[in-house]
Amino acid sequence: MNRFDYARPATIAEAVALAAEPGATYLAGGTNLLDLMKGDLVRPARLVDVTHIPGLDAIEPLADGGVRIGALVRNADLAHDADFARRFPAIAEALLAGASAQLRNAATAGGNLLQRTRCAYFYDAASACNKRTPGAGCDARGGETRMQAVLGWSEHCIATHPSDFCVPLVAFDAIVEIEGPKGRRECPLEHFHRLPGDTPERESDLAPGEMITAVRLPGAAAQFAGHARYLKVRDRTSYAFAIVSAAAALRLDGETIVEARLALGSVAAKPWRAHAAEALLAGAQANEANFRRAAEAALAEARPAGANGYKIELARRVVRRAFILAHAGTPARIQALPASPFATGALRHV
């Protein structure tokens, strides 16, 4: 790990001023950043530790029935907040399907959004990586591509965004609240992460020095609570990143779908909202044939980035299954194996 200047601001304004220096980086739970620094993969000159700024760790209900999640709310605290889990069950399920208890106790909402890819070549300093060193090339192309993207990738970068949390968030129109040198602004999560194009080193909409202060969910998101699921397929049933995941939610009038929501995870450099699939389901009957058509539509533009074509068919099946589960209804309690296709029963793990 390189030596760095460490600053612990007490206000957002102070933090933004401190982060304006070139080479400065925000530090939250540190579960991703410190790991990357240990590998000398990133070498920030200054860490601006935002964890002591008061007021950023609240879960606040909003007048419209939505919620504001402070950037410093720990992943575990959000998942275990009973009111939050009741109104946004697919988000709680996604959080509990991510990482481990120890990591969720440290990881923050803001840090989760900005976690870096898990591309193995990105993590290997000896490999060429356009994300780490713009213009260096991409050793993942023609290399090990099993986990890489099938949507939205470019020849410059085929990596995925690995977050579970972001997948239901983007399905439910979450908004990112941002503060920076030019003041306050917000950005829909759907437009927050960027596709690689020819600048894979630019991963989000944040300008230098800007920080996330909160993530907001509109009240409409809570209307799906009865039929909202997250499904995550991975190499082992716990403590692994997704190969493919999906957040699927339905608003039903009898067996007619009033509105559907769908987003996919670990298929692209951003959490992937599937509007075409949602449009197809609106007004349709909630049945397997229609879920199958929605899955086709969601993956219509997918193409393998190497030997990972299997992810396209896997993603279709995950979408179909996620809708079947959402249609069956959100279980009263989160399952013992959150988001796992192998989960049975409704044992609660607190």
């Binding site: 390189n2 030596r3 540190g30 790991d35 070498r43 481990s100 120890q102 440290a106 716990s238 403590y239």
Partner: protein, 168 residues
């Protein structure tokens, strides 16, 4: 090693006095900003019960409690503990008497080579404080981040069940 390109040479990684509670006792020390809790415990204080496995968040061997909650010492700066309570495996025994969990791991054969054991016990300790009567699913979930290459986990889960049962 290359010098840092952006870094102003002066204020880098200052050693600061950090006060926290370690295993129930007040503790103050000069700790540099970049020092990780795992290195500080093992190399700075000689508390080698907390193990270094993967050194990157993947194995749970370095699990300690911060304010009663399981955390990974390999991904936590020592300085972050200022003002908080840190507990390691060394703090569980009371005057040489094993804690109920330690005794249960010993009696139920929840430990073989022992390398994962401190992390397992601290993760389980964090669970039992939050939920004194966990079902098997809750135990599995709480220990999902702790990897063991010896036991096959069954004996570990039985040990935690036994400690929870004897506390009832």
């Amino acid at each position: 090693m290359q010098p840092d390109r952006h870094a102003p040479p002066s204020s880098l990684s200052r050693a600061r006095t950090r006060a926290f509670r370690l295993n129930g006792r007040a503790h103050a020390a000069l700790v540099a900003d970049h020092v990780l809790l795992l290195d500080y415990l093992r190399e700075g204080l000689g508390l080698t019960g907390t193990k270094r496995g993967c050194d990157g968040g993947e194995c749970g061997a370095c699990t300690v409690l911060i304010d009663g909650r399981p955390r990974l010492a390999c991904l936590t700066r020592a300085g972050e503990c200022a003002g908080h309570q840190v507990e390691t495996i060394e703090g569980l025994a009371d005057g040489g008497r094993m804690s109920p969990l330690q005794r249960a791991f010993h009696e139920r054969l929840g430990t073989q080579c022992g390398y994962c054991t401190p992390g397992m016990i601290m993760a389980a300790e964090g669970l039992l404080r939050r939920n004194p009567d966990p079902d098997e699913a809750a135990i599995r979930a709480a220990l999902a981040g702790n990897i063991c290459r010896c036991t096959g986990y069954v004996k570990i889960i039985e040990a935690v069940q036994s400690a929870a049962g004897s506390a009832r």
